[in-house]
């Protein structure tokens, strides 16, 4: 009896843990530090099984001392180790940003390229489950704005594994931002499209390459993380109205694959950027500027952005859900463009 070859699907959490475990088996310099990343396996499940396999010396629960252990990771990385550290929620960067942006991100430059800081800082992002304004932010732009660190944001388990492996092997610091709504933790509710087939063997995705996840000819919807899934839903809705939407998953903010976005907009002539981070001074502004700067003549309509308003993230679901990007808002953004054009 032959059974069809089943493709193994993994959650983003499991894909991340698998990438880390495989690199730890291959490279004794790789080790993990963070709060509750040991026996618990991480609040978001992305270090599950590591403590069991590698023990407490290489998978270290830390005190609630982010300045100390992230600073320590910089020192260990510069001394030949390859630390992976977790900042449980990206919102907590406030207590330790100095180690991140003044040390981790700058030591290579300050040393004239002689000091390497091969570390990965992973942090959860995202809203949608009423965790209020100190546990729900994305802050993509905050990190991407500051030179010297790569920033990746996967939207699914396949990309998460490939980007994590690449991040660990990279000789530069990499910030790995994973969205809680994609993680596959039972208690959070998960976007179905994030749990996808993942090869067992280790593989790298090149950091800095965007991906067209849906081809289309009328509008380019550019997003990252959970926004990609909103964009795909919007594209399906638009298709019913005879509109062909292309969806681009940025996957990496630093480096930013501007060429990929520009090539798409050259084809479609219309651009919508979807970002769960705050509206102003962020990813949406950067993408639009990159296109306009390149060739304003490509655009058939004013570009649109669907982002989080410039307010702290409210607790109550009626406000939070109202403020978050979703497929309906993306469709409305397209309709706005369309109306303006036909006027």
């Amino acid at each position: 009896m032959s059974s069809p070859v089943k493709q193994r699907k993994l959650t983003v959490a499991r894909a991340m843990a698998e990438a880390v475990a495989q690199e730890m088996r291959l490279d004794p310099r790789v080790f993990v530090m963070g709060e509750d990343i040991g026996p618990l396996g991480g609040v978001f499940g992305n270090t599950r099984g590591l403590h069991e396999e590698f023990g407490g010396a290489r998978v270290r629960d830390t005190p609630i001392s982010e300045t100390a252990f992230i600073g320590a990771a910089v020192g260990a990385a510069s001394d030949g180790m390859r630390p992976i550290v977790e900042l449980m929620f990206v919102d907590f960067f406030g207590v330790c940003m100095d180690a991140i942006y003044n040390l981790m991100a700058k030591n290579t430059y300050f040393s004239g390229g002689k000091v390497r800081v091969p570390m990965v800082l992973m942090a959860s992002t995202g809203a949608g489950y009423s965790d209020a304004g100190q546990h729900s932010q994305c802050l993509y732009a905050t990190f991407a704005h500051l030179p010297g660190m790569k920033v990746v944001v996967p939207s699914n388990a396949y990309d998460a594994k490939g980007l994590m492996t690449a991040a660990i092997r990279d000789d530069n610091p990499v910030i790995f931002l994973f969205h809680k709504a994609l993680q596959g933790m039972g208690w959070l509710g998960t976007e179905k499209g994030a749990t996808v087939a993942v090869p067992e063997e280790p593989y790298c995705l090149e950091i800095g390459k965007a991906k067209t996840v849906r081809e289309g000819s009328d509008v380019s919807i550019v997003s990252l993380g959970v926004g990609v899934h909103h964009a795909l839903r919007a594209a399906q809705q638009l298709e019913k109205d005879g509109v062909s939407a292309e969806v681009i998953d940025l996957r990496s903010l630093v480096p930013l694959d501007r060429e990929h976005v520009i090539a798409s907009v050259r084809k479609t002539g219309r651009l919508i950027v979807v970002d769960e981070d705050y509206h102003s001074f962020g990813v949406s502004g950067e993408i639009i500027a990159s296109v306009v700067e390149h060739d304003i003549g490509m655009l058939k309509a004013r570009p649109q952005r669907v982002a989080f308003p410039d307010i702290p993230i409210p607790f109550t679901p009626v406000m939070e859900q109202w403020a978050l990007p979703n497929a309906e808002k993306i469709v409305a953004a397209y309709q706005q463009m369309h109306e303006e054009q036909s006027r």
């Binding site: 709060e35 618990l40 209020a132 304004g133 100190q134 307010i311 009626v318 406000m319 109202w322």
Partner: protein
């Protein structure tokens, strides 16, 4: 050792009961809409929920010495302290439900409770309340106004930079502030001995030249006595102090926590030492309470919680667009 008056004892007992009944109600209501599938986003109380069951003595033993004008900052686990500080209960519960009538109109939720009428606030970043407590104490000193500030933190927060910086600053400037560590032995899944290089955090006070005391036993009256000394010192211009309290977290870190990290039997042992029945027994033995009076107090406490929950349930949600208000005044 300062002994509470009988009136203070009854007050402490009643506030502990209000707090516990509140947590028990929240625990029940939190699960509405979250079965059979537990998804934090669902139900009338969505989001993270950190219950304070077991830690009530810390709140009442300290707050028994405070007036509305005194300042309190609390943590992600704030309910027992809010109750003891006199935060408006109906509005607090409405905030936890995300209602328009809540303390912040639903913008803050359970980790961000603000009641300026009684100078209470809390926040969700570890050790974050310490700076503001020191600053409020400085403000009172500069203005020559009465009042002390109390910063409550968990034992996990004693390893955060802000802890060390604020202790030094408060001692340097001799500010009227008291730091209270609620040591429940756990920071999420990490046991204190796995995160803290010394056995007792009160010893750290010596590094900053301030008095530090350890209060074992999760006992409201022992906490009352230690807090009396510290708060009197602060009011008299004697500067800051640190109080480390041995307490217990009878619930999980947050609702939905599987608690597999706890050693077998720990939870049962802690339950057996639940401070509220123990204090009730003590008051009965002291003759401060009889069964009838105890029942009457319990009924009143339950009634307050029921009223607050009803108020919250019946209150309307805010309009979504109100999200845009209050970013600036």
């Amino acid at each position: 050792m300062t002994v509470p008056s009988n009136a203070q004892r009854l007050w402490m007992f009643e506030q502990m009961l209000v707090s516990r009944y509140l947590e028990e109600s929240i625990e029940r209501i939190y699960m509405e809409g979250k079965t059979p599938v537990f998804n934090m986003a669902n139900g009338p109380i969505p989001g993270e929920m950190h219950l304070s069951n077991g830690q009530e003595p810390c709140a009442v033993g300290v707050c028994a010495h405070l007036n509305a004008e005194d300042i309190v900052t609390a943590t992600h686990r704030p309910h027992h302290i809010a109750v003891a500080k006199g935060v408006h209960l109906n509005e607090m519960v409405a905030e936890i439900f995300g209602k328009k009538t809540g303390l912040s109109g639903g913008r803050g939720g359970h980790m961000h409770l603000f009641d300026a009428r009684v100078n209470f606030s809390c926040s969700g970043i570890i050790a974050e309340g310490m700076g503001p407590a020191v600053g409020a104490a400085l403000s009172r000193q500069l203005q020559g106004k009465p009042g002390v500030a109390v910063a409550f933190i968990g034992e996990g927060a004693a390893n955060q930079g802000a802890f060390h910086e604020t202790l030094n600053l408060a001692a340097l400037w001799k500010l009227p502030v008291v730091f209270v560590i609620e040591d429940n032995a756990w920071g999420i899944s990490v046991a204190k001995q796995a995160s803290t290089a010394i056995e007792r955090n009160y010893l750290r006070a010596a590094a900053y030249g301030m008095p530090g005391v350890f209060v074992p036993g999760n006992d409201a009256e022992a906490i009352f006595a230690a807090a009396s000394d510290a708060i009197e010192r602060a009011r008299a211009g004697g500067g800051p102090s640190l109080i480390e309290i041995e307490t217990s977290r009878l619930a999980g870190h947050f609702m939905g926590d599987g608690e597999q990290y706890r050693p077998a039997g720990e939870k049962e042992a802690l339950q057996a030492k639940d401070p509220i029945p123990a204090y009730r027994q003590r008051l009965l033995e002291l003759g401060v309470l009889d069964e009838r009076a105890a029942e009457a107090i319990a009924a009143r406490a339950r009634g307050r919680v029921e009223e607050a929950v009803l108020f919250a349930r019946e209150s309307p949600y805010p309009a979504p667009e109100e999200a845009l208000d209050c970013v600036f005044v």
